[in-house]
Subunit: 247 residues, 2 copies
């Protein structure tokens, strides 16, 4: 009897924000797999701390490389492809041996998630399911306690890795903004927001919904203070009834 690979979205970080279905799958798992940087516990594994049943087998999928090489270099691409091929073979073998493997992914797996590289390799070989989760950005705008989009606001999600001119163009075109992958790109993100006239409305949210959560106006953050897990938010302010328009 064939097993199955089930990737569960863990949401923004607070285990209480995991879906009922994902919570049930995690607590009942015999095998869990998760990505992490070598030598770290890994954020996905940290979120489920205390939820795994005794005896659950843990499979840490350790990235062979993260930021040591340029992401578009042949060496980076080759190493990462080999890594995904290797784990595809291992997960396939487990499923073919009848095991059900729960893959833990932060946020929502289909929204900028690493699992998709395994998903496209595995889906024609063995049964694969994905359970959606609350994206990290949703946890962050909830943490700020302010609606992100109103009425007809346009929301654009940008990666901080984009060229500055692209960032500026998109920042000028949308009411609400989410900028991910900030980290070392934060100085460029901040310059682009200033050029687009949006810096004064921008928030930096670090570890949204998690212990140590921090929210600060981006204009007040130093260029040397670039946490990797931070998201930049600019809230929309669209159409709404007149009684609120004066706020």
């Amino acid at each position: 009897m064939t097993g199955k690979i089930i990737c569960v979205g863990l949401g923004p970080g607070d285990p209480d924000l995991i879906s009922v279905r994902a919570d049930r799958l995690i607590r009942g798992a015999r095998d869990v797999a998760f990505f992490r940087k070598a030598g770290r516990q890994g954020q996905a594994r940290r979120i489920v701390e205390g939820m795994l049943a005794p005896g659950t087998a843990e499979h840490a999928m350790e990235y062979p490389v993260t930021t040591e090489l340029p992401f578009d270099s042949p060496a980076y691409i080759a190493q990462l492809s080999a890594f995904y091929d290797d784990w595809t073979a291992r997960l396939r073998a487990m499923a073919e041996a009848g095991r059900e493997v729960i893959v833990l992914c932060e946020g929502d797996p289909f929204f900028y998630g690493s699992f998709m590289h395994l998903y496209v390799r595995l889906r024609d070989l063995v049964p694969v399911e994905v359970v959606p989760g609350i994206p990290g950005m949703v946890g962050c705008w909830n943490a700020v306690g302010q609606p992100i989009t109103w009425g007809d606001d346009v929301l654009t999600v940008l990666m901080g890795t984009l060229p500055e001119a692209d960032l500026i163009r998109h920042m000028r075109g949308a009411e609400a903004l989410v900028i991910m992958k900030t980290g070392r790109n934060l100085p460029r993100v901040r310059r682009a927001l200033a050029t687009a006239g949006r810096l004064d409305q921008a928030w930096l949210v670090e570890r949204g919904t998690m212990p140590g959560q921090r929210m600060v106006p981006l204009a007040e953050v130093g260029d040397d203070d670039c946490p990797y897990f931070a998201i930049v938010l600019v809230h929309g302010h669209g159409r709404r009834p007149v009684a609120e328009a004066a706020e």
Copy 2:
């Protein structure tokens, strides 16, 4: 002792995708409130069918007007403002009487949700909490079974109510697209996607994650077939390792 208003995001529609925290709050509620169109059960209330404890008081907040008046007409704005003011007063009174009221909202409350109109009125009067949920669009792209964003893809979320020229400009500028509030705007959305050269990649997803879920290439949908709860998706195809680039 003062009570509290807690708005819980219900996620895309499948009750199994509600967060553990929201599930616990809903099952333990003494008072629940939810928006609906007059004469309907309401989508939020339908999602929690079978979850409410016996004796839970239900407070249906019925919109005085939906699409009968133009959204920017003074009459529409006045009626809707009065409606939100009225429910602000009622919820405030319940909280001040020591009750904890669970407000049910589809998707994520801060992402184009009606609750924010109550939130901005209530937050300085009584304790208000918001529990995030999986946005409806996340359930829809999960239903299609294809990652929505890869690598450095830009994602833009648009309302189908926008002018056609604005739709076209945004559709040309982003890799991945989500278009909400389609319904009667579907013919314009489709024309805009065709002009922007994106129609062939677009999916119409109706009732994502719910019974009766339907996914169909938008190019195959008739202009007279415009379900209100449908979302249009165009998937990104960003940077990824070479082994997948040939797919």
